[in-house]
Symmetry: C2
Subunit: 318 residues, 2 copies
Amino acid sequence: MSSSLLTRARAGDAPSLSRLISLVESRPPELDSVLQEIHAAGGRAHVIGITGAPGSGKSTLVAALVRALRRRGRTVGVVAVDPSSSLTGGALLGDRIRMQEHVLDRGVFVRSMSTRGALGGVSRATVDAVAVLDAAGWDDVIVETVGVGQDEVDIMRIAHTTAVVSVPGLGDDVQAIKAGLLEIADIHVVNKADRPEADRTAAELLSMLTLAGPPGADGWAIPVLRTVALDGTGVDELADTLAAHVEWLRGSGEMERREEAAAAARIRSIARELAVARVQSPADGTAFAACARAVARRELDPHTAARSLLDARPLETV
Amino acid sequence: MSSSLLTRARAGDAPSLSRLISLVESRPPELDSVLQEIHAAGGRAHVIGITGAPGSGKSTLVAALVRALRRRGRTVGVVAVDPSSSLTGGALLGDRIRMQEHVLDRGVFVRSMSTRGALGGVSRATVDAVAVLDAAGWDDVIVETVGVGQDEVDIMRIAHTTAVVSVPGLGDDVQAIKAGLLEIADIHVVNKADRPEADRTAAELLSMLTLAGPPGADGWAIPVLRTVALDGTGVDELADTLAAHVEWLRGSGEMERREEAAAAARIRSIARELAVARVQSPADGTAFAACARAVARRELDPHTAARSLLDARPLETV
C-alpha cells in the first residue's frame, strides 16, 4: 500500500504525497520497509534550511523564494515547523496564507509540522517529511523553522544549505537566540533591508564573520545578502546563492561530509526514539510505571531505572 | 570525593556546590553512586519554572523574585538556561548582571547553563543541576528558560510550579511561540504591566483560560498576575501565589502525580542519552562511522542502522 503511495507521489500526485508523509509521521510498526524504500530513493533534492528569529519575516521570504525557484522551473517542497499549539489553533495561519498563491501550482508542496506532540517528535517528523519529499523527486526541499531551541538547530543538520534570516532592530534577547544559529549559517540574509537599521545589522554580521576568520582556500565565503521579502527585492540573488552553494558543496567534497554528518545525526536521533519506545513499551508498561513511582518516592534513582529498563527489554530481531 | 562535595554543599559551601554541579554535568562514568546519593537526598525543594518569550523581562523578574523570597528567609538557587553561544560570548551578560546584587548573599546561588553543546545536553545538565541544588538543601530552586522549543518545555516538566511570563505588545510570531507554554502554566504573569497594552494582554490570557474550561472542584484556578519587575510591583504577590500553589499541590495529591510524571520524563531522557552513548560508544566507534557512511551513500537506511547498533552492544550489568 505505502509502496504504491510512494510510486504515486513520485508521479506527482499531491494527495498521495500528503498521505505518505502522514503515514511516516504516525510511524506504524510495519513501516520499516517503506522507510528503507524512501531512504534508498532519496539523495537528489537540494535541502535548504531557512531559519531566523521570530519576527524576521522568514515565512514571507520563503514564499518569495518559492516564487523565484519556480521561475527557474524547479519544483519546491516546503516543510514549515510551526510553533503554534492546538490550544491557540492556527496562530501562524497568517504565514501560511502567504503561501496560498502557490496552492494551485502543482510544482509546489507545503506541509506544516506542529511543534506540539511527543518528545523529539517534531524533529523526527520533520526529518522524515524531508526524506519523503526528496524520495518523491522534488528538486528543492525548504525546511522553515523559527530557529530557536536545540531541537530546531538539530533539524538544520539535515539541510545542505542553511540560510539564517536576521532583521534590523529586534531586541537583544532575540538576537541572543539567533546567536546559536550563526554557527550553522551558510548564507546570511538581512530581511526587511529597507529599514534604516539594516546597514548596522549587516555590518554586525560581517564583523562577526570576520572574527570567525576567513574561509580556507577552497572554503565557502559566507555572504551577507539583503532582501525585502514583501516586494521580492534580493530574492533572486538568494536563489542564485543557494544554487552556488550546492555547487560548491558538490565540488569541494563538503557535500559528502555533510551527508555523513546528517546520517550520523539521524542514527542518533532514531536510537533515542527506539530507547524511549523500549523502556516504556506496552510489554514493559507496568515496569516503567513502577520505576517512575519508585523514582518519585526516592527509592530508586532515575539512572539506575533507565539502565535496567533499557537492558531488561529482550533484543529485537531487525 | 564527590560524596564529600555533597556533604560540603549541604553545609552551605558554594564552591563545593559549583564543583558538584560541574562534576555532574561532565558525567564521568564513575558518577552513578553520586547520582544515587543526590537523588536520595532530594525531594524537599520547591522547584519553580519561570519561562516566557524573549524580551518578556523574565531575568529581571527572577532577580526581583529572588529578593522577595529572600525577605521571607528562604534560600534560593537559580538555574538559568542561557541561549547564548560561545561565538557571541556573554550575549545575555546584561541579564546576569541584574543578579549581581545577590552575589554576596550566601542564601542565593546562581548557575547559568549554556544551550550550546551535545544533543539533549542542556536539558539533562539543567535537570541534574536542579537535582543537586535540591539535594544540597535549597528551599526554592528557580529554573529560568527562554521557553522556546521542545527542549525547554521538557525542562519545565521538572518544575512543581511553572510561571509563564507574557509581555504586552510583542509581535504575533513571539506570541505564537508562547502558545506552547500556555499549556504548562500554573501561573500567568503579565510583566511590564505598566505598559498601556497590559490590560489587553491580561484579557487575552483570561479569555484563553476561560476557553480551556474551569478547574475541577479541587482544581487550581490559574491566576493572571501583573508585575513590573523593574520596580518590584506585584512580585510579592507572585511569591505568595507560588507558595499557595505548592500548598495546593501537597493538599490535592497533585504533587505526587507531578513527581511521578517528572520521574517518568527523567527516565525517558536518561534512556535517550544511554542509547546515543551505546550506538556510538568508543568500542563501537568504527561501526557507527561505517553505518553513517553507508546511510549517507543510501546503501543502508538510518532506522536499520540505529536498531542494529543499539542491539549489537553487549548488555551492561548495572
